[in-house]
Symmetry: C2
Subunit: 161 residues, 2 copies
């Protein structure tokens, strides 16, 4: 579980670096698919990751709109603010939490029951999926996307004996 979060944080940080070389209007431009833009996608990833971690902790989640975070600096700052809490939660993860029940109110007012392990994997897959969308938009801009490779980042070291 932790490895995937570490992977996502690493790749996200590289996308922030990628954004530094792209004109702000391109980061904000409406695009086809996903949530409709590069910077808004990064904001959405940060928002969704933190919101689910808040839900698992029984805390109120994030209700802000992208309009208030529409620069690279603001998204990075927001990410930084949320990260300590997210990281602490991920680092404290243990396998006995996998099937713990979390009740989540649905749009129609009903309550759905999820397993904590299901939510955590949902958060992981959510980010990787949206990063895939960024990679297409990056090529549309004529730019090389950040590599999505999980290997070659030293995330798990092999035994050498």
């Amino acid at each position: 579980m932790k490895t995937f979060f570490q992977y996502n944080w690493l790749i996200r940080e590289r996308w922030y670096g990628w954004c530094e070389d792209v004109p702000p209007e391109e980061l904000l431009r409406k695009r086809t698919g996903g949530v409709g833009g590069i910077l808004e996608t990064l904001f959405h990833i940060v928002d969704v990751e933190w919101s689910w971690i808040r839900v698992l902790q029984g805390q109120p989640d994030f209700q802000e709109s992208f309009d208030r975070f529409n620069t690279l600096e603001k998204v990075r700052q927001l990410d930084k603010e949320f990260h300590a809490e997210v990281e602490a939660f991920v680092n404290a993860w243990d396998d006995r939490m996998e099937t713990r029940l979390v009740p989540v109110e649905q749009r129609d007012g009903s309550i759905a029951a999820f397993a904590w392990g299901e939510i955590m994997r949902h958060v992981i897959a959510h980010e990787i999926h949206h990063i895939g969308q960024l990679s297409v938009w990056s090529r549309e801009l004529g730019r090389q996307p950040v590599s999505a490779n999980l290997i070659r980042n030293g995330l798990i070291l092999p035994e050498t004996n």
Copy 2:
């Protein structure tokens, strides 16, 4: 680990279903980003998943080109042929394999050492990333993509007591 593979297989199967309603020329059309097309992406996902599982088992991997598998039926058939072996490997996964070393020859002839757990997560992230690309191309075609949600598929059931 198994949950993510199950998720990927489920979503992939839904994308095959999605493909059934799309004209073959759109499935083959060259697109911006990724490996450059919808059906070739699905072929690539199947190829890469199986190839890495073969590498972990010390077996020769797949060296075919997409040209021989350029219909939905052929990709599905190939997937079916590979799936039994992939699924058996995934189902036999146990945590003691996480840091087991696998040597992999690089393009320059050198040997890199990876951990099995790193390779497995690489395969998982690889598919989710490419599916994210399909979702953009789907919207470009004016079609609703397959949902990427991991929750609401009953992949992990919460404890109810």
